[in-house]
């Protein structure tokens, strides 16, 4: 192991290391701790200039209920859910099918299609912006959940297909050949053999995609208008204008907007890291 395991050092060094760890962690998370503390501050506290200290009075319930009072924040939050969950499901479905085919079938365009999916990951969003906006208008899905969901699925399929194709390629091909010899159809092979085997990869991609889509800001800005379908990222940005100097409310809103990916991350941490570091070990 590198660096040398701390256990091989003296006790003072060990204690020092643990203290350093906690201090570094505290400094690292300070911006986020500040937001959490401010989200339970009273407005008077903020007026008095207490921005970074411990809150004088705890106003957690007041603040958090205040941000949900006019219903807009709840709407944004719900919108994010309505957009994110089907997108994750749709992306995994399409890309697992595509990945299966690219990994296990031999046909002429195979490599070309695979390269297309990889290259799609390096495209700046801005070159898609005007035509995608136009397309959603033409298809009648501009400013609807469908517009955002369908676009996200289309774009994210690139990354996920790349990921899953490589994952499926590592599976033993004999499995498939044996199933084919037994007369299994390609759909049965996909459904009964491949899908169960790629569950870990799907879990990894699932949490990763959930985070990406939940945190999307640009496409929500481009493909939605008004409060109807706007997700919580853009919503929070708008509320910031309305709450002006009510930093306690802005903070509470921020905590709410950040919460689902954070929960997801803690619940599925191992999968999350697996997805993110795919390829970081063996390139």
């Amino acid at each position: 192991m590198f660096p040398t395991p701390i256990q091989k050092y003296s006790i003072p060094v060990n204690i020092l290391y643990r203290v350093a760890l906690i201090v570094t962690l505290f400094i690292w998370l300070m911006p986020l701790i500040a937001v959490m503390l401010t989200s339970i501050r009273t407005y008077d506290d903020i007026l008095a200039g207490n921005y970074w200290g411990w809150p004088k009075d705890i106003a957690a319930i007041e603040n958090y209920s205040a941000i949900f009072e006019d219903g807009r924040m709840a709407r944004y939050f719900l919108n994010s859910m309505i957009i994110t969950l089907p997108t994750v499901f749709g992306t995994l479905l399409l890309s697992s099918m595509a990945g299966f085919s690219l990994a296990m079938h031999r046909f002429k365009l195979n490599i070309l299609l695979f390269c297309m999916f990889i290259a799609g990951n390096f495209v700046p969003f801005q070159i898609l912006m005007i035509p995608v906006r136009g397309l959603t208008v033409d298809l009648g899905i501009y400013n609807t959940y469908y517009g955002l969901i369908i676009f996200h699925i289309a774009f994210q399929t690139g990354f996920c297909t790349f990921f899953l194709r490589n994952f499926i390629k590592e599976l033993p091909f004999e499995l498939i050949e044996a199933a084919r010899a037994d007369g299994a159809t390609e759909w049965m092979i996909y459904r009964k053999i491949i899908l169960p085997l790629i569950v870990p990869a799907l879990a990894a991609l699932g949490v990763l995609e959930f985070t990406f889509i939940w945190n999307d800001y640009f496409w929500a800005l481009i493909l939605s208008q008004g409060d109807g379908v706007k997700p919580v990222t853009v919503g929070l940005d708008n509320m910031r204008g309305q709450w002006v100097a009510n930093y306690n409310l802005i903070s509470a809103g921020s905590v709410i907007a950040a919460l689902p990916p954070v929960i997801m991350f803690f619940l599925m941490q191992r999968h999350f890291i697996n997805g993110l570091t795919f390829g970081a070990v063996k390139g």
Partner: protein, 305 residues
């Protein structure tokens, strides 16, 4: 044997791939081509296909290379944006050494380290709007904690985000918060795969500390570095969210980057063709970078074999 049974191996790829490929062609590949086409036109964004009495497109006028010529010869903001993109490109790479340092710092097996690590990963899953809000406060000259910090060192506080010379750096620093978290995750995983035998062999040969890291550890982290560099650079060239949240391109356009300028030109100044030409430039820059990077990678790998 039915038709399906005889031909399914030939038909299967088509059936399995068509939904994904179809959507991808429609929403990613076609738009790239269309953006390039739009960039040769003057268009305000309304009613693209409307025709006048003679059957010519009324709102969508061919102007050839005019948009590009104007961009390069008449638009100072374009150069400001390109220069800012270059700043983003280089300074976002700071995340890599910091990520390695933190990963080395955390690569110990003590009680509770798993939790400590997950708290370090935290900023990566938080959206840019929240990060932007937090850092805007941090920089606030009246009550931001940076003011206290500078005061502690006897320095005068100054409004970073409203200062033309510093605002971009302020935003880049904010982007390093999730950026470092990301590179750190990559390197922590990378470190678990470093060969124990080679470390032992190095120790026997008397290598330790920095020599060990530089000669034995770092070369083995190459796959991790590759991913970290590509993702960091692509992210830097794409930077948009933090700029939109923190400064909106201001003060006086000084924090503009190509991605943000394009958005503003198209949707607020109603110059779709012009915006598209900016997007095409960004696209080309990104492609050149990726091609150069892959070329170097393949060249190095082929010489090593």
């Amino acid at each position: 044997m039915t038709f399906w049974e005889r031909n399914q191996l030939k038909l299967a790829p088509f059936l399995f791939l068509s939904p994904a490929v179809g959507l991808f062609l429609l929403f990613v590949i076609y738009p790239i081509a269309d953006s390039i086409w739009v960039s040769f036109h003057e268009w305000s964004g309304v009613n693209r296909y409307a025709v006048d009495d003679e059957g010519n497109l009324k709102n969508f006028k061919w102007v050839g290379l005019d948009n590009y010529i104007y961009l390069f010869t008449n638009d100072d903001e374009f150069y400001v944006s390109v220069f800012n993109n270059i700043k983003w490109f280089f300074f976002s790479l700071i995340a890599i050494p910091f990520g390695i340092l933190l990963a080395l710092f955390l690569n110990q097996q003590i009680l509770g380290i798993r939790w400590v690590k997950s708290f370090f990963y935290f900023p990566f899953v938080i959206n840019a709007v929240v990060i932007g809000i937090v850092f805007t406060w941090f920089y606030n000259p009246k009550y931001g904690s940076l003011t206290y910090l500078l005061g502690f060192f006897g320095m005068e506080p100054f409004p970073i985000l409203s200062d033309e010379n510093y605002a971009t750096y302020g935003i880049i620093v904010a982007s390093l918060f999730p950026g470092i978290a990301y590179t750190m995750i990559i390197y922590i995983t990378g470190l678990t795969a470093v060969s124990k035998d080679m470390i032992e062999a190095g120790r026997i040969d008397g290598a330790s500390g920095f020599t060990m890291f530089w000669n034995i550890i770092l070369p083995q982290l190459r796959p991790a570095t590759l991913i970290a560099v590509v993702v960091t650079i692509v992210g830097a060239l794409r930077s948009f969210d933090l700029i939109a949240v923190m400064t909106g391109g201001g003060p006086w356009g000084s924090t503009n980057v190509l991605a943000y300028k394009m958005y503003e030109d198209s949707l607020f100044n109603f110059r779709m063709g012009y915006g598209a030409s900016t997007a095409v430039i960004l696209f080309i820059l990104m492609d050149i970078y990726i091609a150069w990077f892959l070329y170097r990678l393949f060249k190095r790998e082929s010489t090593e074999k």
